[in-house]
Point group: C2
Chain length 295, copies 2
C-alpha cells in the first residue's frame, strides 16, 4: 500500500484515536495531526502519543495532507465541512467514520462539491463500552467490518487509499451504496438501540421503578446494554437516518401487533413458531453459519 | 436449619439438578429422588451423581418425602399435580421453580386444595446459556434471588423450610404476592424476551436476511441473546402470564408511539432526553446504585 505521509484526524476520540494508533502500529503513516472542538482533548491525545501534533486550524491541518478522517459526532459534520472546505487542495483524500451515510453524503456534496473525486465516505463497525481518546487502542478494528460507500465521482485511487488504510488497521472492507448502508444499519443497529432506550425509559418512569429494577437479571442486562450508549451520538444517528429507521420501526410494530394478537388469543403454537424461527436464526448467526433467506 | 431427609425433584434439568447439587454440597439433604417424563434423563442424573435414585412413580417418590421441588416446564404443571395429588401426605412440603406464579397457584389450588398449608410456590431468578441436567452445577444460585409467593394458607414452618433450602443454596430469598411477581417479571423479563424474539423473527423473514445478519455486530448480539432461549419454555411463560404481559406490551407500544412521533417530527431534543434518562437509569442499575422513583 501507499504510505500516508500526513494523516489528519478530526475528532480524536475512541474511533479517530484508534485509527491513528492502528496505522502507526502498521507503519503505514508518517505524521499524525489532530484537530477538534476541544483543545484539552487534543493535548491529551498528544500526551498519549495518539497524535504527533495539534493543528492550529484547517489551513494548517490540510497543508500537505494525504488523508483526512472525519471522526466527530455526525451532528457536527456540516460545521466541520464548512470550515475545512476553503482549505482543501486536490490530492487530499477525505473520508469519515459516521454511523449514517446518506446525510454525510449530502453534506459532503453540499460543501465539497468540487472535490468529490477525492471523497470516500465510510463507516467502521466497531465500538467499545467506553468512549474518548483514553479508550482508543490499536486493535479496535482487528477483524471488524468497515463499510465504504464511495460516490459515483470517487476516483478508484482514492477508494483504494481508504481501503488500504482500513486494511492496515486489520479491518475487513466491504462496499455498499449509502442508501443500502442506511437501511441495513437501521435494521440491525439503530432500531435495537431505539428499542432498548425505550424499554429502560418506560420502566424508569414508573412509580415502582426501584422494585422493577431490583428484580431485573442477566437477560435484562444484555438486552439493555446498548441503552447505556451515548445519548448525543444516538440522537444524531436517529435524526439523520430517520426515514430508514421509521420504515424499520413500522415493520417491527407490525411484528409486535401479530405477537400481541397471539397473546390475546392464547395462541401458544403461533408464539412457539415465532420463537423457534427466531432462535434458529439467532443461533445460526452467533455460530457463524449461513442465514437462509425466508422461503 | 432443619435437615431435609428425603428430597424429591420432579424435572431434573438445569434448575432442579442445580438445586439438588447445591443442597447436597451444603450437607442439607439426605436422599435425593428424581422423577420425570424421560427415563434417560433421570438415568443420566443418577450417573452424574445429581440424584441418588429414580422413583418408580409418585407413590414411591412421595413415600416419606420431606420436600418436593417441581422443576418441569410450567406447561406440564397441571398433569404433574394431577398425578401426584393422590399420593401426597401431610407434612410433605411442596414448592416449585416456575417462571410464572398466578397460573401455578391456580393449578396448586385446583389439585392440592386439601394440602395448601404445606404448599409454597417460588421462582429462582437464575438460568444459564445451556439447559439440561448436564448443565447443572452447585453454584447456580449463589447470590441470586429467589422469590417466594406463599399462599394465605401456607404454614410458617413450610415457608421457613423452603426459605432455608434456598438459603442453603446461597440464594437471597424475597417475598411477593403471585400477582406482584407476575407483573414485575412481565416487565423486566417476559417483555424483553418477546421483543428480542420478535426482532430476530422480523429480520429473519426478510428476503435480504443474509445481508442484514452479516452486518449485525456486538450491540445486536447482546440485544438478541435472549432470542436464543428455549421456545417451549417461553411459549408456556407467555401464555401463562399473558394478562400481565399484554399490559406491559401495551405500555411499551405507547412508548414506541411517542418515540415514533419524535422521529417523524425530527425532534432531536425529545429523543436525547429519552436516551439520557434511559442511560442514567441503566447505568445506575448496572452499578448497583439506587434507582430513583420518577418525579
Amino acid at each position: 500500500m501507499a504510505h500516508i505521509g500526513k494523516l489528519v484526524v478530526c475528532g480524536v476520540g475512541l474511533i479517530g484515536g484508534s485509527f491513528a494508533l492502528a496505522l502507526r502500529r502498521a507503519g503505514a503513516v508518517g505524521r499524525i495531526v489532530g484537530i477538534g472542538r476541544r483543545r484539552e482533548v487534543l493535548e491529551r491525545a498528544c500526551a498519549l502519543g495518539v497524535i504527533d501534533e495539534i493543528a492550529e486550524g484547517w489551513a494548517d491541518a490540510l497543508d500537505g495532507a494525504d488523508l483526512v478522517l472525519l471522526a466527530a459526532p455526525v451532528g457536527q459534520t456540516d460545521a466541520i465541512l464548512a470550515a475545512m472546505a476553503p482549505h482543501l487542495r486536490p490530492g487530499t483524500v477525505v473520508t469519515d467514520a459516521g454511523s449514517t451515510k446518506r446525510d454525510v453524503v449530502a453534506a459532503l456534496r453540499s460543501h465539497l462539491g468540487g472535490a468529490l473525486a477525492d471523497v470516500v465516505p465510510a463507516h467502521p463497525i466497531a465500538g467499545a463500552e467506553k468512549s474518548g481518546v483514553e479508550a482508543a487502542f490499536a486493535e479496535l478494528y482487528m477483524g471488524r467490518k468497515v463499510v465504504l460507500t464511495p460516490l459515483p465521482e470517487s476516483r478508484p485511487e482514492a477508494v483504494q487509499k481508504v481501503r488500504d488504510a482500513w486494511e492496515a488497521c486489520g479491518a475487513n472492507v466491504v462496499g455498499m451504496t449509502p442508501q443500502e448502508h442506511d437501511r441495513v444499519f437501521a435494521a440491525v443497529s439503530h432500531l435495537p438501540h431505539l428499542l432498548a432506550f425505550g424499554l429502560v425509559d418506560d420502566l424508569a418512569g414508573r412509580s415502582n421503578a426501584p422494585l422493577l429494577f431490583s428484580h431485573a437479571a442477566s437477560g435484562f442486562r444484555d438486552f439493555t446494554r446498548i441503552a447505556g450508549s451515548h445519548p448525543e451520538m444516538w440522537r444524531d444517528i436517529c435524526v439523520a437516518n430517520r426515514v430508514a429507521l421509521l420504515e424499520e420501526l413500522d415493520a417491527y410494530l407490525g411484528e409486535l401487533a401479530r405477537l400481541r394478537m397471539m397473546l390475546v388469543e392464547g395462541d401458544g403454537d403461533g408464539l412457539e413458531a415465532v420463537f423457534e424461527r427466531a432462535r434458529r436464526a439467532r443461533n445460526a448467526w452467533a455460530e457463524g453459519l449461513p442465514i437462509r433467506t425466508a422461503e
